[in-house]
């Protein structure tokens, strides 16, 4: 799936997927919003302003993914920034047949891996106090069926998952990616991506139920 061009850092390897959902279609109406793919091609061609629009469209979900993935807001913010900086730096490697969202998560995954390596931090359980803090921050916290405690428990459960389990679960659940795209991001087969996502859900459920029975003191 990937072709590695010489002299391109491994982080920037172009992402390609034949099942792209945001293929560029030349706009008939000039007022119609451009697709993500068209915007990224514009960035690649030197119209860097277009990255601003891509930031506005995608930084929210990306940040949400990174917060859940790292368990730390500050780290998530730093990584999100690096992801967009790498989009600029490696814009030339974005491919004509690329999928922007998949490419973004491909970069995000690499940046997060760099972060974990640098911080010398293997996946860790998050500080429960910190979790309560997060849980009540959502705009609709309290209005949803689940309580703040449930959020905190789930956050802790996520933190206890294996790094790769948490990753595949978050990618498959939140990011509106197809399993073909997820497989591309994780560099595995589509079948393997599904199996990993399903196993991760089983693991999360097991940890979550256990935590519910032994609530945080």
């Amino acid at each position: 799936m990937f072709t590695v061009a010489p002299e391109i850092p491994v982080d920037s390897r172009p992402f390609a997927d034949n099942t792209v959902t945001d293929d560029f279609v030349a706009p008939v109406d000039s007022n119609a919003p451009l697709s993500d793919h068209a915007l990224m091609l514009a960035v690649r061609d030197g119209r860097l302003d277009a990255l601003g629009e891509l930031f506005e469209r995608h930084h929210g979900p990306l940040f949400g993914f990174l917060v859940k993935f790292t368990g730390h807001r500050a780290a998530a913010e730093d990584i999100a920034q690096i992801v967009f900086e790498r989009m600029l730096k490696y814009r030339h490697t974005y491919r004509d047949d690329g999928s922007f969202t998949a490419w973004m998560y491909h970069l995000a995954r690499r940046c997060a891996a760099d972060h974990f390596r640098k911080a010398n931090a293997a996946p860790y359980a998050t500080d429960p106090g910190d979790l309560h803090h997060h849980a009540d921050e959502g705009p609709d916290a309290g209005q949803t069926a689940t309580t703040g405690d449930d959020h905190a428990l789930l956050h802790t459960a996520l933190g206890r998952l294996d790094h790769s389990e948490r990753e595949v679960l978050l990618l498959s659940r939140f990011q509106e990616l197809s399993f073909a795209e997820i497989a591309g991001i994780l560099e595995c087969s589509v079948g393997a991506a599904k199996v990993r996502a399903h196993r991760a859900l089983h693991s999360l459920r097991t940890v979550y139920l256990r935590l519910q029975k032994e609530p945080l003191s």
């Binding site: 690649r44 061609d45 030197g46 860097l48 302003d49 990255l51 601003g52 930031f55 930084h59 929210g60 979900p61 940040f63 949400g64 917060v67 859940k68 807001r73 998530a76 913010e77 999100a80 920034q81 967009f84 900086e85 600029l88 730096k89 030339h92 997060h134 849980a135 009540d136 921050e137 959502g138 705009p139 609709d140 916290a141 949803t144 069926a145 689940t146 449930d150 959020h151 428990l153 789930l154 956050h155 679960l169 498959s172 659940r173 197809s178 399993f179 599904k194 996502a197 399903h198 859900l201 089983h202 999360l204 459920r205 979550y208 139920l209």
Partner: protein
């Protein structure tokens, strides 16, 4: 017949809209008859619901500020430095343009030659003594002749450049040539002409940018400023155009004013180019 363990492995697929398969019916049939597996599905479903309901925090405004600053910095770098240029930025000069370029240059050369001849007093001019079979032109005419020869030389070098360098050398080799020229402390006319030739005619944006960079050292020469000014309207790449405009502004070349005015009023031109032209006009 699937066992409960096999069924349970497949339960997440039931909770994923993307994975509705033919096997779904079999799974549901099993669930209807197996309370244990149904409980299993319920807990998975509850976990997913809780996961989906987790609040999505927002980043601080700092993230947006930093990303936009990075975009602005990259834009600035793109404008001001001859950084590696992508294939996408390569100018799209039409093929016919490159084909006729050498001939156009040759035609200009011939025109210059004819004009030059006209200005030399004819040997049979009545004002000259009939006794002199060969006339030595007066010093002013000699000077004009010398200038014309020089122009012819540079023109022929340009033609030579476009034919030889464009076709037979890779852009890397041409770039190296330009960079070598740039390091010569006191370059001769040929080196300068090669650089102007590269700026005007080379198909690679990167080579043209580096040629322009090398010419900065010789901005005091009329021929250099004239070369840049002549190349500007023909230039297709906004990146090189802006660099040329900056060059002319830095060289304080008043002769550039009409060209810059035309450029800044041209609706077809790139917005950044027009802005650069306006800025340069202010400086001039």
């Amino acid at each position: 017949m699937m066992t409960c363990t096999q069924i349970r492995e497949q339960l997440p697929a039931l909770l994923d809209d993307r994975l509705a398969t033919a096997a779904t019916r079999d799974l549901r049939a099993h669930l209807a008859a197996c309370p244990d597996c149904e409980r299993e599905l319920a807990t998975l479903s509850e976990t997913l619901r809780a996961l989906d309901a987790m609040p999505a925090p927002s980043p601080t405004p700092r993230l947006r500020a930093r990303v936009y600053a990075a975009i602005a910095a990259e834009q600035h770098a793109l404008r001001s430095a001859p950084t590696p240029v992508t294939a996408a930025l390569r100018p799209s000069r039409p093929f016919w343009f490159r084909l006729i370029q050498p001939f156009a240059a040759a035609a200009l050369l011939a025109l210059g030659f004819l004009l030059g001849q006209r200005q030399v007093p004819s040997p049979t001019a009545p004002s000259l003594p009939a006794a002199a079979p060969v006339v030595t032109p007066d010093p002013a005419t000699q000077r004009e002749l010398a200038e014309l020869r020089q122009k012819m030389d540079s023109m022929s070098q340009l033609v030579g450049y476009s034919i030889l360098q464009q076709q037979s050398r890779s852009s890397n080799e041409r770039l190296r040539g330009v960079l070598t020229s740039a390091t010569i402390a006191e370059p001769d006319n040929k080196t300068i002409n090669d650089l102007i030739g590269a700026l005007a005619l080379d198909p690679s944006t990167n080579v043209r940018l580096n040629a322009l960079e090398a010419l900065y050292a010789h901005a005091d020469l009329d021929v250099v400023r004239a070369g840049v000014l002549t190349s500007l309207p023909r230039e297709q790449s906004p990146l090189v155009q802006i660099s040329m405009i900056d060059f002319l502004a830095a060289a304080r070349d008043r002769e550039a004013v009409p060209t810059l005015q035309k450029l800044s009023n041209n609706n077809q031109a790139d917005l950044n180019v027009r802005a650069a032209a306006k800025r340069a006009l202010g400086q001039l």
